[in-house]
């Protein structure tokens, strides 16, 4: 890519062109979809969770290059984390792992965070008792 001018840095371009974890999980334990086509971005993240740990993650995204790269990177980062850890997942993790995003594209990483949170919410709703006792009001 030496003689090529890119809108995004090499890592972002790589995740856009070769997205990791693209697709759906047939037997997902949690699925989150955020955004709206009218706004230019929809992200859907599916999680496979076992023993409170994220075993697998997949994404589908309608959106610009940085939205695709952000969701690809987010699924990479989230795999292997515990649900507790994942609940603290931040868009900053995505930005940092991608080596930065243009200022006007920060919202893509926010969307990735929200998609993960939505998927975790879905999981927690479906599996209320064992996973999140501390999170319940006393």
């Amino acid at each position: 890519m030496s003689d090529i001018y890119t809108l995004y840095n090499e890592t972002v371009m790589d995740h856009f062109m070769n997205p990791r974890n693209l697709g759906d999980l047939a037997d997902a334990d949690g699925v989150g979809e955020v955004g709206a086509a009218a706004c230019g971005d929809i992200m859907k993240i599916s999680l496979k969770i076992k023993d409170g740990r994220i075993e697998d993650a997949r994404f589908k995204t309608f959106g610009c290059g940085s939205a695709i790269a952000s969701s690809s990177m987010a699924t990479e980062l989230i795999k292997g984390r515990s649900v507790q850890e994942a609940l603290h997942f931040s868009n900053q993790d995505v930005i940092q792992a991608l080596g930065g995003l243009p200022p006007v594209k920060i919202h893509c990483s926010v969307l990735a965070e929200e998609a993960i949170k939505a998927a975790l919410d879905d999981y927690l709703k479906r599996h209320p008792a064992p996973a999140a006792p501390a999170a319940q009001p006393t």
Binding site: I4, L7, P19, D24, A38, C39, F62, G63, C64, G65
Partner: protein, 422 residues
């Protein structure tokens, strides 16, 4: 990798003849046209020649009606503000179409802050301005009507001649922004009945850094860039001599080659449109179909279930330059106000791509684009949760509804800003 330019609406390369004409004026004949010595007089002479070339190109009655600016944007600013300030004692009302370029619309917003008022005339679903709507918007206070020749995003040709007739009958100056048409459609300011008309030579193989404002005696005009007495006191600042020389030659070449350029791009446009229709399902054309209603160079298409920036990037990585009116592509993060004005569905607006042809494109370029684009659409749809839902019947298509599943249809107007693809 060979590059294919399908973004002629953004800008064009300078032609060798244009370049050759400009070249001496950087170092050898570098004079300032205001200087009274050889160097200055030679530069002044070069300006006069370019002014004549432009006048001939647009059928102006006299080269004295041609003013050089720094670009299409400045020309539009000068037309709007220069006429408004000059005429404010007669009235303070303007009429413009809702689909003008931001150079016009933001100039209008600025003078609205200075106490002027403006009526924005709506367009139909193809982006076309109805002359009757313009007529209805006129008041006793109207000092300027501004309607573009061709819409920059859609390619819609506006009925400028009809509007010129009715503004002439009312004695209201008429400004035509021909930035998106100059060099690609015949322009005759007298036939149009334009009192002001703007051009950007970098859109027809001339250089950047120069614009043209035609103005005849029926429109009063004061300068908006103040300083020295250049351009008959209507535009201050040392003239960009090489660029003006280049503009003149580009205009002369464009005038001569016009029928050929139109025939060539019209043929490619047809091939492109037929190919897209045949090979990409759930794709919608915005603006009139190829033919008399649209410029022969461009197509504005929206591919359903995928977004525009991704299409643009993947085209680029495959050697093809294109543009998009989607919000992700714009600096303001809003979709083109033109797409909003025609009531395009919001999701379709996000999937927008603007393809614009030029003299150097070939049938092979078009075919290569089509082959590539089919793959890009497939790749992006495979990533798209909407496509998936559509396949599963959960949502319906806006472009070709099957009548099952809910559609996300919503007009784009709510999301738009006066952003623009070019």
């Amino acid at each position: 990798m060979r590059r294919i330019n399908l973004d002629h609406l953004a800008t064009t390369p300078v032609l060798p003849e244009v370049w050759a004409a400009m070249q001496p004026f950087f170092s050898e004949a570098y004079g300032n046209p205001s200087s009274l010595h050889q160097e200055g007089l030679r530069a002044k002479d070069a300006l006069a020649k370019a002014r004549q070339q432009i006048a001939t190109f647009i059928h102006a009655a006299s080269p004295a009606e041609i003013f050089f600016t720094s670009g299409g944007t400045e020309a539009a600013n000068l037309a709007i503000k220069g006429v408004a300030y000059a005429s404010q004692r007669r009235g303070r009302h303007l009429v413009v179409s809702a689909v003008e370029h931001p150079a016009v619309l933001h100039s209008v917003e600025f003078i609205e802050q200075q106490g002027f008022t403006c009526t924005r005339v709506k367009v139909n679903a193809e982006g076309w301005v109805d002359p009757a709507d313009v007529e209805a918007a006129l008041t006793d206070q109207t000092i300027l009507v501004a309607v573009q020749h061709v819409n920059h995003d859609l390619g819609t040709i506006q009925p400028v001649q009809e509007i010129g007739r009715l503004t002439a009958a009312r004695g209201v100056p008429f400004f035509v922004d021909a930035t998106a048409s100059g060099g690609w459609i015949e322009i005759d300011v007298q036939a149009i009945g334009a009192n002001l008309l703007s051009l950007a030579p970098h859109r027809f193989y001339g250089p950047k850094g120069v614009g043209v404002l035609y103005r005849n005696r029926k429109a009063r005009l004061v300068p908006i860039q103040h300083g020295g007495a250049q351009e008959e006191g209507r535009r201050a600042g040392t003239e960009n001599v090489p660029a003006i020389v280049g503009a003149g030659v580009a205009a002369e070449l464009a005038g001569r080659a016009l029928p050929e350029r139109i025939a060539h791009t019209a043929q490619l446009q047809r091939r492109l449109w037929e190919g897209l229709q045949a090979r990409v399902p759930y794709l919608r054309l915005s603006g009139p179909a190829p033919g008399l209603g649209r410029i022969a160079t461009s197509l504005n298409v929206s591919t359903e279930f995928i977004e525009g920036e991704g299409q643009l990037l993947l085209c680029d990585l495959n050697g093809i330059a294109v543009a998009s009116g989607s919000s992700c592509v714009s600096k303001s993060l809003k979709i083109s106000h033109v797409l909003a004005a025609i009531g395009l569905d919001q999701a379709l607006a996000q999937g927008n791509l603007i393809l614009s042809l030029g003299r150097e494109n070939t049938a092979e370029d078009v075919d290569y684009f089509l082959d590539t684009f089919v793959k890009i659409v497939a790749k992006l749809r495979a990533m798209s949760p909407m496509w998936d839902e559509f396949q599963r019947g959960a949502i319906d298509s806006v472009v070709a509804p099957r009548g099952s599943g809910q559609t996300s249809a919503a007009p784009a107007a709510g999301m738009a800003g006066t952003s623009h693809a070019h």
